[in-house]
Subunit: 342 residues, 4 copies
């Protein structure tokens, strides 16, 4: 059986990544692609690398006949998914790649995103899309909220440690190195090649990054108390990938054991032998997440390093993994593409 898929926001990087993944997915068919400003264009004009595919022309969202759609990926700018999903036919399943339904509490949403939520009823029903930790609920969900790409990378490293009480909750420092595609395709001076290619720079330091809303929500809930990590993302001159260095206080071997045990059966999470750390380039173009643990020379201090491809496992690959579950497919279908290297 072939599932009929619509991608909203198909002209952005996560939209194009979804098309790439569906191109070799055996049971999904793209029936609609939307893009507000580029409506009317062929996808091959917007993304020449998809030229070999037979794809529908880009349209506005209004032009889509959602009765023909089984599942809809929404890769829209923050804020646009709320009213949209609210107004879709109930039978259309939705995987939202944006931030609109990540935070369960309307006040949290307003705190981090500035505006009131427009679909608070839906917000309550949305399932947080970190597949490896919400698999059963995702299977039955109508609406899944994809996680932030930073949020996914760090949670894979830290959730099992917080669940098992292995680290000091007041001293978690996460220093991330981020490929630039996470900033999307919008035009900003600091995203020009000439500005980025010989630079590394932090941003949203000091607790201003919106993904902290997710960290606070998830880690505090798991810990049963307020947890506020210190978090610094950095732009590095790479297209894809996030490498998270998580500095924690706890026993390194116990930490490693907990991660190995937790992810042993997971198809997409690879825990390295103790003392080894992954590189960002080890997962490019794939849905895999590699995690390593290193003990410091000073006992009780550990470094947990986690890496994934922000466009794939951090966003569109995660979305596909969730869509597979929601549609009754095997979770890994179309997602076993090996990383591209070099």
């Amino acid at each position: 059986m072939t599932h009929k898929i619509a991608i909203l926001g198909a002209s952005g990087y996560t939209g194009a990544e979804l098309v790439r993944l569906i191109a070799t997915h055996p049971s999904m068919e793209i029936v609609a692609l939307s893009a507000d400003r580029k409506a009317g264009m062929e996808m091959a004009e917007v993304y020449p690398q998809l030229r070999h595919l037979d794809l529908p022309r880009l349209v506005t969202m209004d032009e889509i006949d959602f009765d023909q759609v089984d599942l809809c990926f929404a890769a829209l700018p923050h804020g646009l998914s709320q009213a949209l999903v609210r107004d879709l036919p109930e039978r259309v399943k939705v995987v939202d790649l944006g931030a609109d339904f990540r935070l369960a509490d309307p006040d949290d949403y307003t705190k981090w995103y500035g505006n009131a939520h427009e679909a608070t009823e839906l917000q309550k029903t949305a399932v947080y899309g970190l597949t490896e930790f919400n698999r059963d609920r995702i299977r039955d969900a109508r609406l899944v909220a994809g996680t932030g790409c930073n949020a996914a990378t760090v949670q894979f490293a830290l959730r099992p440690l917080i669940e098992e009480g292995l680290i000091d909750l007041d001293r978690i420092i996460c220093d991330l190195k981020n490929g630039v595609s996470g900033a999307g395709r919008s035009l900003k001076e600091n995203m020009l090649f000439a500005e980025r290619s010989t630079d590394v720079q932090g941003y949203a330091q000091g607790g201003k990054h919106r993904h902290l809303g997710e960290f606070d929500q998830e880690f505090s809930r798991i810990a049963g108390r307020k947890v506020e990590i210190m978090f610094t993302p950095h732009l590095v001159p790479v297209n894809r990938g996030i490498l998270a260095d998580c500095y924690v206080e706890g026993d390194p071997k116990a930490i490693h054991n907990a991660l190995v045990a937790r992810y042993e059966a997971e198809p997409f999470i690879e825990v390295l032998p103790f003392g080894q750390a992954p590189g960002m380039g080890h997962v490019m173009g794939s849905n895999f997440c590699h995690i390593g643990v290193i003990g410091d020379r000073v006992p009780g201090r550990a470094l947990v390093v986690s890496t994934l491809d922000n466009l794939c496992k951090g966003s569109s690959g995660q979305a596909m993994q969730n869509a597979n579950l929601m549609l009754g497919e095997d979770e890994t279908t179309g997602l076993m593409l090996a990383p591209v290297f070099p």
Copy 2:
């Protein structure tokens, strides 16, 4: 039916690319991986991005039981395939990714590679592996000689034009921009990141590049007279990809028409609308080749631009395409991966 595959020279980039492609190929199984200097290591140590795969440990070629092998990919340094293939059991099919069997004439081989050929009988039987032009012979071959990556890129642009007599054979200038992975994984000072990352530099200019042996052989044979193109490759700071600018004298529209007609039915060759040229980034990680034709302001001058991923369509993807044919599989099996972008 699953075909049993051996990869010789698996620790090089083309070897790793073969593993990547086989990872999602439905009917190939890797039974042996060889690597001289790295024998004994796990593939995950040599290529951490392949960590999720269950692969045999690297061994020396001597340790391989070729009775268990249906087809062998030889991704060895120039010169090493000759004796090896000669001594293999006749039933083992071979796709050679190196240069040992590309030139049919032993004198040509010696002219360009310096040494006498060690398997001149085999050399006569090897089929030149430019799939789109030798499909039928490849299907029945025991030994297929993969083309040079530059040779493939330029031939896709020019073969139909020479076959149809559309261009001046004495005035063909090919200026290539080459991703650095074409130089392989060997240690050379000029291949260090710090040397390459802000540089673009030509090499082997003036007629010294060995791929000219292939150009001379193929173009002269097709034209029925001596053809000697002018050819300059350049290292550009990109991992994968070749972009070939071919400057020719002829009618641009007729050239475009000939390419469109020739490649209409080809699954991997995309000819762009007249007046458009592809970018190297449009094919990364894929088996596609994009070709464009642009007419100059001066009538009778044309630019034909061709691009492909040197590790895939220019080498390992081509090898896989040929192996599919040799094994009776559909030619495109496992090769429809969409390019990775950005």
Copy 3:
């Protein structure tokens, strides 16, 4: 004596490069910096790398008191210099880095830039700023028109050959590899890091690039007949640099001899030994131009390779060299900075 300098368009890359050069120039003082959209900002906000310098705040052009200015560098978008220079006090010398005064013939200007020239009297008096070929006229000029960066790179390679009748004028093909800073700091989707970093792509192929106006003007004048070169620029993922491969028909040794003789006394032009070609990375951050000549395997075909830093020797360095002459300074003052490598 200290010369009082104004830089118009200081927020662009060529403007910033002028500031960099003046920072260690012993006899220039910046008295005004203009930037339309960024007027009111400190230069350190616009270019944090200039933070250590004591610079005037950015203003609009109207706010500048030109009575306090000896020489004005105009690094403005095409079209804006014409009225501006016309209305400046006659005693203010002007080096224009834009295209407004490069073409002596108003019709040529209109043909390539689309609009009528607004200062045709001035246009007649402007001296074409290719220093090494117009040194005496530049010394006495009030208005010097900086050349296009591509135009400079190719002219250094070819002017002596055309002057001496050493090459076939109907068969000149120039294939250029261009660092992205040549496109300036304006916001275009194809200039984003994620779009450029793994791509090489030609643009304005087929005779559409505006620098052809300069080539046609200069080469035709020198040759005494119409000369129309074939010219293809390409974006490569490098910030600075142009590498020009010029394919010509002529005797390679004679070509090399002519270039050696012509540039022997030039402080900024280095001709390599016969058979060697320069790399783009050999001149980064400097005012040097490196040129090499290679003979092809087919007699009578030659490759002349020329490289310079588009922001320096191709633009702001050239402007400074001309300003030095106009102000009675030694031509090399402040310009002997060695290239940065790696």
Copy 4:
């Protein structure tokens, strides 16, 4: 007066950087350049970007007449400076860019570098070359030990804070992003362009990096107790630059104030306004160090970010700054080159 300079190890990146700096230094003359494996070559063959300079041919160290040398820069592999400096004429001043004399205690040296020190008497007299903190002793020194590049970057951020007791000494975490030139020009597989260009990877994590010897020595001495920071360097795909994120516990405003006060009169250290952080690209090619302080959302947590060019301020620029002092020149002579951007 012109000082006669020898550079030992001139074929490495720091050696070439010294030549670049001396090229525009008004009172230094290079009289000898040594390079073991490349002795006999012209510098222009080894570094084509220095082609315009009139430099002595590379020789072995034995061939140098040290009686003609005033000051010698030793940019040698670790271990080679010890015997060399011991055997030089006493009147030759030495700036050692390697690690041989950084650690005052022979046991510390052996602990971090594995072998016994061969010149322990000299080791006692060497002055640690962090100019801004040892200026007076450097002025009178015969032998100055250049700091590690990481060690310099982090010490600029943290020394004033430790001196003034502003931060928790048991909770200092330094996460560094390092341009690859820090690894030098030696041939390693993981330094190839294809391996590095799309990767970010930590190394020597967990307390194994040799620069920790310097941190432990300096910070413990200043604090009057044992201080062991947590330190993780990372390779990022950039040629030059180190960006250090230092996570500390203390009052952010007090920290900022201390840094502003400490560096107010320093010509090469720029402290940004509170709440701003520098980027690695802001200092490329220069001798400047930019430092920023950001307070976290949780009171008492601060991020101090420091950046410099590892080849310049982190190594050869620092060496030149020290040589200026040792030779009685103004400390900034030849070092006011503005950073190159883009």
